[in-house]
Amino acid sequence: MATTLPATDVVLVGVGLVGTMMGRELTRAGLKVVGLERGQPQFTVPDFQGPRMHDELRYSIRKALMQDNTREPITFRNRSSETALPIRRWESFLPGTGLGGAAVHWNGQTYRFQESDFRMRTLTEQRYGKKFMDADLQVQDWGVTAAEMEKHYDRFEYLLGVSGKAGNIGGRKVAGGNPFEDPRAREYPTPPMKEPYGSAMFRKAAASLGYHPFPQPSANLSQNYRNPEGMELRTCMFCGFCERYGCEHYAKASPQTVLLPVLMNDQRFTLRTGAQVLRINLSPDKKHATGVTYVDAAGSEFVQPASLVILGSFALNNVRMLLLSGIGTPYDPQSGKGTVGRNYAYQTTSAVQIFYNEKININPFMRSGASGTVIADFVSDNFDHGPHKFVGGAYVGEVMSHGRPIEFHPTPPGTPAWGAGWKHAVARYYNHAIALNIHGSSMAARQNYLDLDPTYKDAWGQPVLRMTFDFPDNDIRMSKYLTERTMAIARAMGGEQVVPGARQRPYTVTQYQTTHTTGGTVMGSDPSNSVVNPFLQSWNVPNLFVIGASNFPQNASYNPTDTVGALAYRASEAIVERYLKNAGPLVAT
């Protein structure tokens, strides 16, 4: 029997990045907030301290900070004619767990999406005609514009202290920044990070070919910084243990370093860790959320009543929580009807390797998670897609984030898979190789979606999430073109050998690509093809807000988190300024 707890104003499902931000904004507005986080509490001190934290086997290979897949796996198949099977070991993507969520062990690459992303369907049809996109694509507009997003991006970047160089301040182009970005109100909070060797070589080569290199915007900071919440961040030491690790130096922006201590000092906030939310409870007419049911770490079940529910449990978990709670209509790829789980997308990445002679020391271990130099010339609609017959694009750059040797020991083609030849190649090339990264968009397609698995259950006896995904033809063509363009840059970088690696089908869960899983609770202005309105409020249950990369109608070329944070601030503003005064739908249906 579940114990019913005293009611609260707001319950947060998940206390990761989104949960922390929303907790802060809503306690600030005077509300009592209960944060439910399934994982452990964890803090910079003592949990992320070196030397313990610098353990590649434990954190990168055994994935110590990730969602416990022995209790909560996800099943996967490439197409709906196959039987989905559990991902028995995480590899392709790594959902986080514990206080702070995946934003503890992210890399900090912090980019804004563009107007041509937010209004992708409209602008693509305007420029290339209605028949340009492949028939299987379900690209749609977001219901927001870059101009509307600007102040929220700005606020989020100042919270994190992002290190970068503006390319367009209020419509005025600024040398050294990204010339393709939409206007921003002001400079980045901190200047760009120092540029590593390989990135400098990339910059020179890209510029010589007429492209526009700029420093990757980084949430690992170039200098000490005090954010508007009064939190002090420190300079990044380029330790090379960033993605998959907590930062020992207070240099990586994470909930712990930018906001959590402030939230936890607020009397109106209550944190419960080890609290696994099973479902959002609804009124009999299913139009109102009454709170949530969760199980604590010792196995006892509780009902937490709340007037407002904020679902910020990471993209994939958000989708599953709606499905488990019976909120909205699950997507059916056959009929095309239903919206929950629709438009699952990912990131279409590929790489080009360059091998150098032994005089060139790359020192790959001297890196930060987000140091490096990139170009946006092939991002989004920054180039003419007419001749290429695909939509979307990629940023390309030298953004290596580490030289940890179990994960990183590049060898050129022709190297034996094992034996003396392998070992000598590893010794020869470890310090003399570069990988260029091609970080491409992922278009939502009719056949790719998320739903509940009919067979496999989690440790609480609930169906697990089922993922059906393969790269659409459009994205394979994009990857091929972008990888060819990157080859040309790589050849201008003075190596001995250049090796391409365009993305191929089938998508496989056995190789890490990114944790940029998107869609499934898509935002938009039309309830027939979206789950939440442009303020991230559920169309079905107005006292529920669903926030995360699950809101993306399709995924853009850039990493998601700047946009997740900006959308969260935008939603919080709508809640505080409008919803709290008049609790009901913020957008009429």
């Binding site: 028995r88 380029f238 271990f365 001297m366 070992k423 000598h424």
Partner: protein, 216 residues
Amino acid sequence: MGSQPGPANGQMRFFNPGEAAFVRAAVARLIPSDELPGAIEAGVDQFIDIQLGGAWGAGERLFRGGPWHPGSPSQGYQLPFTPAELFRNALRAIASDVELKGKGPFEHWHAKDQDAYLTELQKGTRDLGGVPSNVFFESLWGLTVEGFLCDPVYGGNRGMVSWKMIGFPGAYANYYHLIDQHGIAFTRAPMSLADNGRGEVMLHPDIPAQPMAKGQ
């Protein structure tokens, strides 16, 4: 750098003597010792033994719920075996296979024959007690690479031989002042998690170690 003397193997926790002998001989071929150190100097066989005898061997972070289907390669590992079970079954099948060949124990074979046998395991899918041979090979190779390149606290990469070989400085890392000295030869000896010579702990004076929620 010359290869270091082979370690006097401690007591194995997981492998029986026959298994230990095979694994030692196999990893000695997977990463042979020559003028550069190999798996034996790095203690890879002992690393694998420790891993299989501990939580990893017992299926740490491996979802083990059924039903089981072979699946497609893009769905990844789908066998019901823990790593410990996988090794045990495969090594038992390999032992009888080796015996049938009548050429004496694997560890006494010529290197060329050992390589040919390992290649057969790698490229084939022959059933080894329920484990396709290529799956066993991949598991063995994965653990071998880990044991060669991991931090020595795990019992592999003894003396940091592989890190010295490739020039990886290890667990202690602060390159703020070096990152813009492009192409410098970095020659500091590597450091392991275990040999904290500097006693450095980054403590932030303004933030309490474990902020406690003030609410209820």
